[in-house]
């Protein structure tokens, strides 16, 4: 009951004309940019972050939440109409979504995707309310050792669950940590990796890095690839699913919501795993599994619902522990830090208004996106026909404004361009960006926790394994590492055997 009254308070806070406008603007911009091929949620948020600068924290967080969800909705449209997934979680949607679109059922696919996403996101939001508060209360007993182990496990899970190559994901995390070391060190307060440049004393801003890597890097990659897209047309008359479509997928949506939410709650598992699991589950439960891959509506409803339910589930570790499970959540966490919040177990105690405003915004955003997406799908689809040659100058301009406005410094703009070139290399050589962003956001906290834990234990390193919660978290990380190592060795052996044959 307490949680519900807090949620009500959150709605009271956000339901002002200005905040509603910001939520709608965030949904619209998130969807429009998320639709652009190749731009996943992380890139969308990175490009749109400057729109929240100069705002009060609550409207800024509402807009950021709307952008996160809007970009997910936009990504589905690209998967269905272009067969180009904006992120790994949308890969499965392409399988049946694009086939449905080719069979003239693009409207049904987009419609069921919007309805499933709405239900998954909203019901997942209810789960969030009931898990977030007890988890945050439980995590109050966490000391620096537990926090260090939790961040360590969270980063490892992101590495093991995402990306094709574990070595590359690990390198991405290490690079993110490396960039964190620039600035004042958390022990002695001495400048580290600063080289006498005063602007580097505060470290490299997270915003500068993400806009460079995801915004400028994307522009450079597109300049090379000259992506030409051929979108399928969606007439206005075809943008609603039929009642039979909705009826047929009702249990799919229920199953995907539960599965997606719990996948999201696990640090690192998140949207990608949930969408793949949901697709597999629906295929195994279907009476006609042979239709999957040829345009089965359950193959769209399941992964899309699970994806959005996972997005709500991911908010649990984010809001109660301060641990992001995905690149887009790391961006949201970065946005919260920019707004002056200190994410972590104490967030719910120190800034309950903001937390409940974000949770209320999650429901509002899903509702706005449902209303916006069903009738406006043809308009969003039209965005795909805009030439990229006109879009990338706009992306560049927004990134420049974002970088400059952080400290009114041209130095930051230059650093962003450098990271743009680095981001181009990362994309070119298939290094996943999400682990780096997560390490970048959590790196300082991770290092500080390490030092604090050792200080409290008078330098005794066994403190990490003698404290029960920390030991369990590290044990989980160790088990994951062993399992993944065995899997990798098995795959390598299979490759060598195949090569011999």
């Amino acid at each position: 009951m307490d949680a519900l009254s807090s949620l009500w308070h959150g709605f009271v806070l956000i339901l002002t004309p200005y905040n509603l406008f910001m939520a709608m603007a965030g949904c619209f911009l998130g969807t429009i940019v998320g639709i652009l091929p190749g731009l996943g949620p992380s890139a969308t948020i990175a490009i749109l972050l400057p729109f929240t600068f100069g705002m009060d924290p609550i409207p800024a967080l509402i807009m950021l939440t709307s952008i996160v969800y809007g970009s997910k909705y936009g990504g589905s449209t690209t998967s269905i109409l272009l067969n180009v997934p904006g992120e790994s979680a949308s890969v499965v949607t392409c399988l049946d979504g694009y086939q449905m679109a080719r069979n003239g059922r693009a409207g049904s696919a987009l419609g069921i995707s919007a309805i499933g996403s709405f239900l998954g996101g909203s019901i997942g939001g209810i789960g969030l309310i009931f898990i977030c508060v007890p988890l945050a209360e439980f995590s109050l007993i966490f000391g620096p050792a537990e926090y260090f182990s939790l961040i360590f496990m969270g980063m490892l899970t992101v590495v093991y669950m995402g990306g094709k190559s574990i070595a590359k994901s690990l390198m991405s995390v290490l690079l993110g940590l490396g960039f964190c070391f620039v600035g004042t060190d958390p022990i002695q307060g001495a400048p580290r990796f600063v080289y006498g440049i005063p602007r580097l004393m505060d470290g490299i801003s997270f915003v500068i890095v993400v806009m460079g890597v995801f915004g400028i890097g994307e522009v450079l990659v597109s300049a090379e690839e000259r992506l030409k897209v051929q979108s399928l047309k969606v007439p206005f008359s075809q943008c609603w699913p039929t009642f039979s479509d909705i009826f047929k997928t009702k249990w799919t949506i229920v199953r995907a919501t539960v599965l997606g939410f719990f996948c999201g709650v696990l640090p690192g598992a998140g949207s990608t795993l949930s969408s793949f699991l949901s697709y597999g589950l629906e295929k195994s439960m279907s009476k006609h599994p042979e239709l999957f891959g040829k345009g089965a509506i359950e193959g769209v409803a399941g992964p899309e619902t699970a994806n959005n339910a996972a997005c709500s589930g991911e908010m649990v570790p984010l809001l109660s522990l301060g641990i992001p499970s995905s690149g887009s959540n790391a961006m949201l966490l970065g946005g919260m830090i920019i707004c002056g919040l200190r994410p972590g177990p104490l967030l719910l105690q120190t800034s309950p208004d903001f937390v409940w405003a974000i949770i209320a915004a999650l429901f509002l955003t899903n509702f706005i996106l449902l209303i916006m997406n069903l009738p406006m799908v043809p308009l969003f689809a039209y965005t795909l026909r805009l030439p990229y040659s006109l879009l990338y100058p706009i992306i560049l301009i927004i990134c420049v404004i974002g970088a400059y406005s952080m400290n009114s410094s041209i130095f930051d703009v230059g650093v962003m361009f450098l990271f743009g070139i680095f981001g181009y290399c990362m994309k070119k050589y298939e290094i996943p960006g999400a682990p780096m962003v997560i390490a970048l956001v959590l790196g300082k906290m991770w290092e500080t926790s390490l030092y604090q834990a050792l200080n409290l234990a008078y330098g005794d390193i066994t403190t990490f394994v003698t404290r029960p919660i920390s030991a369990v978290l590290l044990g989980m990380a160790a088990v994951m590492t062993v399992l993944v190592t065995f899997k990798t060795i098995r795959m390598k052996r299979a490759m060598i055997e195949e090569e011999k044959l």
Partner: protein
Amino acid sequence: MRIGDRVFGMICLGLSFWLIIEALRYDYLTRFTPGPGFAPFWVGVLLGLFSLYLIVDSYIRKNKEKDEKPVLPGRSSLQRIGLIIIILVGYTLVLMPIGFLLSTLTLAFLLLYFLEKYSIGKSLLYSAIFSGGAFLLFQYWMEVDLPKSWLGLGF
């Protein structure tokens, strides 16, 4: 991606050496806790090890896997990327002296006219819309303080 892996492995190996060498300049341990050089040192070591793994692995699987995409951009792509980078560097240099509006107008015009081969009229029109729109939106509506020219104006 095997040559790509080698290239990226080399870049990261270089970064790892830099991290390790720099980390050695700071205290490794204090009385009870690791010093400022502790974490950078170990991150550098791990980055170096994974970079080596990536490089060695790319040689081990040389027979099986062929590069799907070219490792270096083609000549025309390289020219486009190079031109964008040159324009961006130039833009960074002139942003403060001539202000946001004029420099951004020039940036957009150069990209559209020279790179995208729009006609001069269209390039000017689109550049004016993009830079003017961004200026009005951010400077006046969102009250972001954009660089002003030496005349003290926004352009």
